[in-house]
Symmetry: C3
């Protein structure tokens, strides 16, 4: 159910981008109960001038490797689950592909359960 948009600077190997996507998904599975096969991700590479990110907002030192992750998910997760997701995502990506935790920016968009169709023209979550 989550639709995950990942935006980052172009130039990394495919395996690097895949590791980002894998880590974000694993963190969602572990911390907020997303089923392992509930995975829908869009990873977009951008030229240097296609992302403008402040290098120090809130005292966090960001580099050109910054990754912007926006997750659309159904409403209902508690704040503690969201915090666990941020922490676990940063931890997993630090391990593989070696992203600095300062370079992971995440935002969540919450929507209702009736706002999803996973195929066949049906609203599977309202059935």
């Amino acid at each position: 159910m989550p639709l995950v948009r990942i935006d980052l600077r172009a130039g990394k190997p495919a395996a690097y981008r895949r590791a980002i996507a894998d880590g974000i998904h694993q963190a969602l599975v572990e911390t907020i109960g997303i089923p392992p096969d509930d995975r829908f991700q869009v990873i977009t590479e951008h030229p240097a001038d296609g992302m403008v990110v402040d290098p120090a907002y809130l005292g966090i030192q960001r580099s050109d490797d910054v990754v912007l992750v926006q997750v659309t998910l159904s409403a209902g997760r508690k704040p503690a689950q969201k915090r666990a997701f941020y922490a676990r995502a940063a931890e997993l990506l630090a391990r593989e592909p070696g992203l600095r935790p300062q370079d992971l920016m995440i935002s969540l968009l919450e929507t209702t359960w009736e706002n999803w169709s996973f195929g066949d023209g049906e609203a599977q979550y309202t059935q």
Copy 2:
């Protein structure tokens, strides 16, 4: 008013992508009362590794042709209208360009009427 983001694998002809965009818009017009000229769509092609989609979540068999559609629209549509939209979109895209209904994933993001400016620096829906 809807802002529609359509993400799909690169490699299809322009006419194919246009048919996807046309069908989504027509379904919005027919099922949830969007004016025919209220059309704002972004269609983005991605390389093979730019989309990671589970091939069988909820038992739906997805292919590399999967299309992810995210519609931002003003809140207020009833569940029955949303379900009608999903069904009609799948039906129209199956007809033209021949998309398998299993390959159409839709999500909705709802926002308020004051959250739109269609030009001229004004909030047209609050006037």
Copy 3:
């Protein structure tokens, strides 16, 4: 905190795109209290068939230069602030890079304060 997505037709110089991004950010700072260093923007260029925009919805004459701006921000801004943002953005972009006000379409997505992590795996706004 705002995550700003800017979509426009490919073919403009980098300085043109940068001026769009700068103007949107300045308008957010001036009208709705965004800190100057709270800047996270993704600017994406699209081929001609990658954007489908009605050329006259609501009587506004749009050209191929149309720019679609979608801002994700924390909820709580008053309607008057939002209207001020639309107006100021149109004004600034008309000045530099010379965008016609009719060609600026803005939408806002509001989310909660706990839905942001700006790095380090933490939810900075809930601390």
